[in-house]
Symmetry: C2
Subunit: 408 residues, 2 copies
């Protein structure tokens, strides 16, 4: 007989979270390491304490709430993140942490103690909305970056991650990274597929490859009035050419491919002045790694062409790649088995967004579950899930988690 | 025998100004009503006082240094502005004020007292770089805007013009606007024509018509990863389409026409997010008023088309027009006569940039003089003039000014 989460309690936790750091339009604006993030971390800590879980904070601010096992083995991790975008929803990330908490609350109620400990994790700054890049603390956990790098990242006002972790009281003592048995992450899909198909559970087998770049066009500022068109080196024009080209790349590879120019910072960006600089961020995504690489290469060529058209230069400042991980077959089987026991037919699918699970998968067996969100809208305060959207996947998570933690 | 300015003293004044609010690359970053603007105003006030001129500050912060005439008639005004762009040069505006000061210094030395008083004016915030729009204080002087409007304008940090005028001690008691006999403004050309032709003096007969617009594209933010291309309403894409179209309009009307997208503010403007909003500023300029209007209409249509392509909406927030004024024929004749007496053959030309003279011309006879600047580069710290570039026009100004002030 499969276990089931306490639906009302899970929903109540989500709605309590939705009060902390509200946005302007019903969502959340709970940027990493801000006051609201601190308040939510504190609340999560209280809930863990109420549930009898020992809380540990590592030097990257990651929070681990431990439900003990029968043996001193590496724990099974379950969780996600409590920070949001500036235009965040109430479920992105939060669901994964609070569903993890609900799982161990149920185990405690049932008196079930699996062979291995279970730890509910809240990763610091998954979103990257305030401190770039996203998923920075799981990157350190996985050994892909070091703590000094994380500490030195700054927000727009120049405050560092280290200073802000210290300020909010989450600069923990525990080392970052330790042996784990496995990692599960439940997340809203952040795409329209499950919702459109009326399906409630997606098992994520891996990710779309995402490739991104920060680049800078350099032109020359001058007066917009008297400066002849043929003397101009206007970085705004270069940025516009690139943004159009990036958008066209997405359409050429649609429906699977997507590409976006998400950031344009002109300088001086004032009426009357040609732009001497344009800093641009673009990314491309595709389920096929080679195709994503081809799209990215077209974006790179488009940047060079855009610079040439506007008589500017272009410098690639930073590039990144994530999402081409393949999740663990055994964990995926475990999720499928749990779904079957609950009479749920899951959809096997790829994630199109970034997740801490990608980085964790570099060091431990990892898998993800998706539940639907309305119309696939996310990173938008209108992001919406019903309890019916959430519960089936939470139940699959609960049973797969116990089975994994309790295996021989 | 025509009068001549003291070249060394004029240059020394310009170079002393160039020390106050220096930029990063040899120019000036003396934004209106900042500490450097205050320091420059104070210095100008000291120079006026040393020259025996009575200084008056009006309620818009405009400074008037009075050289008395033989009769109590409306004064002849001469001047420009001491504020600069964030990437400003050492001559734009400043030359007009300090050449005006040099003119009355020479008159004082020669003991020449014309029939009418002469007042050297420094207009507050010509540039509009910190507080939009440009030329705001001369607009109030000319009765085109009221003081309440000027006081309420804010900079990016929310500080008002009124508060900043008070903070730097330039919220004067004198009413804004009074009868004047005429207004002269000497300015660098801010275009390449005089420099390219090796000519030293331009008499400005009027301006290029400049039409501009602030507009907002509204789309919808969403996650850049999973959101299919055909579901997007990405305001960044709309802004890029418009910027390309505006640039093309400029090329179609080249060499006389120019058009520019000088500002793009995306929101949220973060990696991983489609843009829900894009605020854009564009302008068009052409010597022919009807052609400028046609260019502007094409820009407006391009904005609608750009919005449609990106499935966004567009709102015109503000439009403006300036520069289609025609300067006073009698003053132009006076400048030409002064040039002839100095054996200078002036170029009759139109200004392509905005100037306080445009607004003042609505209420009094007005004319402008141009001198060359190197390669026409301006609104750029590389803006450069030699003394040889400046002196001929300053001498024309001096003689035309005296003739006007002394006329029957």
């Amino acid at each position: 007989m499969p276990l089931r989460v306490n639906e009302a309690r899970l929903w109540a936790s989500l709605m309590a979270s939705a009060e902390i750091g509200p946005g302007e339009a019903g969502g959340l604006a709970r940027l990493a390491l801000g006051d609201a993030d601190k308040a939510m971390r504190d609340r999560f800590g209280e809930w863990c304490s109420d549930a009898g879980l020992a809380l540990r904070v590592d030097a990257a601010g990651n929070m681990f709430a431990r439900y003990p096992g029968r043996e001193a083995l590496p724990p099974v991790l379950v969780g996600s993140h409590l920070d949001t975008q500036i235009t965040g929803g109430r479920f992105d990330g939060i669901l994964g942490v609070l569903a993890g908490l609900e799982c161990v609350r149920r185990l405690a109620e049932e008196g079930i103690v699996p062979r291995r400990p279970i730890e509910v994790v809240n990763w610091t700054n998954e979103e990257g909305a305030r401190f770039s890049p996203p998923m920075m603390a799981s990157a350190v956990f996985a050994g892909l970056q070091d703590l000094a790098w994380l500490y030195a990242r700054t927000d727009a006002s120049g405050r560092t991650v280290e200073a802000e972790l210290r300020r909010i009281g989450y600069l923990g003592a525990a080392p970052v990274g330790f042996p784990i048995d496995a990692y599960f992450e439940l997340h809203i899909e952040q795409g329209p597929e499950l919702d459109a198909r009326g399906q409630k559970v997606g098992i994520v087998t891996g990710g779309y490859t995402a490739l991104g770049m920060n680049l800078r066009f350099v032109g020359e500022t001058a007066h917009t009035g008297p400066t002849p068109m043929d003397r101009r080196r206007d970085a705004a024009v270069a940025a516009a050419h690139l943004a159009i080209a990036v958008n066209e790349i997405g359409w050429q590879y649609a429906p699977l491919g997507k590409s976006t120019t998400s950031r344009i910072d002109l300088w001086p960006n004032l009426p009357g002045l040609l732009s001497a600089r344009a800093d641009v961020t673009f990314d491309v995504r595709h389920p096929d790694r080679a195709t994503a690489a081809a799209m990215f290469e077209r974006g790179r060529m488009a940047a060079a062409a855009a610079a040439a058209k506007a008589r500017c230069t272009v410098d690639e400042l930073e590039t990144w790649r994530f999402g081409d991980e393949v999740f663990d077959a055994e964990l995926i089987e475990g999720l499928a088995a749990a779904a079957a026991a609950l009479d749920i037919e899951p959809v096997m699918m790829l994630s199109q967004a970034g997740h801490d699970a990608y980085y964790v998968s570099r060091v431990a067996p990892t898998a993800m579950l998706f539940c639907p969100c309305k119309d696939g809208i996310t990173h938008n305060e209108a992001e919406s899930c019903s309890l019916d959207d959430i519960v089936p996947a939470a139940n699959v998570l609960l049973n797969a988690l116990v089975a994994r933690a309790d295996r021989a």
